[in-house]
């Protein structure tokens, strides 16, 4: 194989300009793949991790059903009733009966890390002349820390303050900003849907980095909210933290079947986002695929041209005893070498670009809030980029190499080369 490698590199080294263009094409493709993957996946992973861990892996709810509607449907069947008018929804219908029993049951399960009760509702929070509509969530801080990681996002780590002072509230950081509450200890007024008005002390700010949560949420103690909403001893949600997040879908079906309530996995709750992410990934990978294919075509073109220009050399090599497979390898090696150097350079450029991107600081305000790019710097993207580049460049060089090996030397000699 020595002679094949010798000739292969000699041919390549004498065509430096074309080789460099091909190598750069591959390198750019690999760099794009690594950087785009790490930016996209970094953002998505961050969003999913935050969103999933803050909320719940599984949420158990009593799906609100209109009782009249339900009865009519049971009596006449789904196909007969098209719409039921005149029934009025009542808040109490969404309560989860025996929630303490459900909590104690699943706390013993091997798959479950923690279960916490929630009572959720809506209210208006006022501070001075400013007011803002928020989703209020009543929690039991002791159980909550076992079922979610909201304590991690408390700016002053005072989640437990809800236990100490029952007339306290934790505001989402953007809710506080919109209301003008800049420090803890301030008193805000909460207006419940039943019209009752309550003065609560702000004890902490909740700052998850996910805009949609931080600008709509406020946390109170479960007992406080039960009192405010006049729903004593009631909860309307149970949140589950499980050991394997990817098992949420299956477990939600089990819990739903066992409890009779509607259990929603995080995948279902965030299905819209996951769909968007999937689409985003497809678009990203299609772009990167296109870049790699274009660079592969570059290699293909150069190799084809080389084969056409090198017909005389191929003919004499065959005449002096080179076999078809050796001629093939002479050209395949060139493609492999271009792919290898391009992929290695691409990995290096990708790493340097990641370093640069991670050093840039700017405010990101959108679906999430961050300072700069959130990168997933997994080595997997380097490995994939390297393998794809090697695959495409080898593939691109294979056909021209095969064509070269099939040249009939006598035809070349007859035509005078």
């Amino acid at each position: 194989m020595n002679h094949v490698v010798f000739i292969s590199f000699k041919l390549l080294s004498e065509r430096k300009r074309q080789a460099i263009v091909s190598v750069l094409g591959v390198a750019i493709g690999v760099t794009a793949f690594i950087v785009m993957s790490s930016v996209m996946m970094g953002f998505q992973t961050y969003f999913i991790e935050q969103a999933v861990d803050i909320n719940a892996h599984i949420t158990l709810k009593n799906e609100e059903q209109d009782e009249a509607d339900r009865i009519l449907r049971v009596a006449y069947g789904d196909g007969v009733i098209s719409e039921v008018l005149g029934s009025k929804p009542k808040e109490t219908k969404d309560k989860i009966v025996d929630y303490k029993f459900i909590i104690s049951k699943y706390m013993k399960s091997e798959d479950v890390k923690g279960v916490a009760p929630h009572l959720t509702g809506q209210a208006i929070v006022r501070y001075g002349i400013k007011e803002k509509s928020v989703n209020i969530i009543g929690i039991d801080p002791q159980l909550e820390v076992k079922a979610s990681i909201i304590d991690r996002f408390m700016e002053f780590k005072r989640l437990n303050q809800l236990n100490v002072d029952r007339n306290s509230i934790i505001l989402g950081s953007l809710v506080a900003r919109d209301l003008g509450v800049r420090e803890t200890g301030k008193k805000v007024t909460l207006v419940a849907p039943n019209g009752s008005v309550h003065v609560l002390k702000v004890v902490d700010f909740f700052n998850s980095g996910i805009t949609s949560l931080d600008q709509t949420r406020a946390y109170l103690h479960l007992r406080t909210l039960q009192t405010i909403l006049d729903r004593p001893n009631q909860v309307n949600e149970l949140v589950f933290k499980i050991k394997n997040v990817d098992d949420a879908e299956r477990l939600s079906r089990v819990i739903s079947r066992e409890t009779g309530y509607y259990a929603e996995s995080w995948q279902k709750a965030y299905s819209n986002f996951l769909k968007i992410f999937r689409m985003q990934n497809w678009i990203t990978y299609m772009i990167v695929f296109a870049i790699l294919v274009v660079s592969a075509f570059g290699i293909f073109n150069i190799m084809m041209m080389t084969v056409l220009e090198k017909k005389r050399d191929i003919a004499i090599l065959k005449a002096i005893g080179f076999e078809d497979r050796e001629i093939t390898w002479i050209f395949v090696f060139q493609g492999v070498f271009i792919g290898f150097v391009g992929a290695t350079l691409g990995c290096l450029f990708g790493y340097l670009l990641q370093e640069w991107l991670s050093s840039i600081r700017f405010e990101v305000v959108g679906l999430i809030r961050a300072r700069g790019f959130i990168l997933d710097r997994s080595p997997v993207y380097f490995a994939y980029g390297f393998v794809f580049a090697m695959f495409f460049s080898t593939l691109a060089s294979f056909y021209p190499s095969f064509k070269a090996s099939k040249l009939f030397p006598v035809d070349i000699f007859r035509s005078g080369g």
Binding site: H3, I7, D313, A315, A319, I320, G321, E323, P409
Partner: protein, 221 residues
């Protein structure tokens, strides 16, 4: 004398055109055979078949007494590499390689080390009057020098026979004389040579002259 190469009743048809019409010929050890004929007489086609580069439509080829199986490409490549040296009208040197590297190529194919191959390449080039030009690229050499590099390449693996297709066809009279002298010297050292040419004067200097016309041998001197 032992026959290096023998063809028996060789026919070659290319696109319904019968190029060779039953030719029988042999080259023995120490022979210097020239094939002459006008353009289109089939002399190059015959040389390609005898050089195992092309397959006859009919007939048999024997190399050193063994019938050649044209389906065994590996064996054909092996024989061409180790036992036959080719020289063509156009030198067919690889432009990216130096003179010495061009001579090395057939040797590297035989798994000879690069060092040994380079040593022999230098020695062959020196024998052919190219000392000091070993590292020059083909485009830095004259036509005659290029052809001498091609001859050195043909001699690289110490072949049993040299096949030359119009080796002087592209050279001036001075270089023609040099190349012819090299062939005659090689033949004197016992090397069998088969040369295709259309120059009768050169053919007369060989030991055996075969004249071809319209795909048949019309005379052997």
């Amino acid at each position: 004398m032992k026959k290096v190469l023998e063809v028996i009743n060789i026919k070659k048809v290319i696109r319904d055109n019968e190029i060779l019409k039953g030719i029988s010929l042999s080259v023995e050890e120490g022979d210097f055979v020239s094939i002459i004929g006008v353009s289109g007489s089939g002399k190059s086609t015959l040389m390609y078949i005898m050089g195992l580069l092309d397959e006859p439509t009919e007939g048999e080829v024997f190399f050193e007494g063994v019938r050649v199986d044209f389906k065994n490409h590996r064996l054909l490549s092996e024989i061409r590499n180790r036992k036959i040296g080719f020289v063509f009208q156009f030198h067919y040197l690889i432009p990216e390689l130096s003179a010495a590297e061009n001579v090395m190529v057939p040797m590297l194919k035989t798994q000879k080390s690069r060092k040994d191959a380079l040593k022999r390449a230098f020695s062959l080039l020196a024998e052919l009057g190219l000392r000091g030009k070993e590292n020059r690229k083909p485009y830095e050499l004259s036509g005659g020098e290029q052809q001498r590099v091609a001859i050195a390449r043909a001699l690289a693996n110490d072949p049993h026979i040299i096949m030359a297709d119009e080796p002087t066809g592209n050279l001036d009279s001075k270089n023609t004389e040099i190349v012819m002298d090299i062939f005659l010297a090689l033949n004197r050292m016992g090397r069998a040579i088969l040369m295709v040419t259309h120059e009768i004067e050169l053919a007369r200097r060989t030991k055996k002259m075969v004249e071809m016309r319209d795909g048949v041998v019309v005379g052997i001197r």
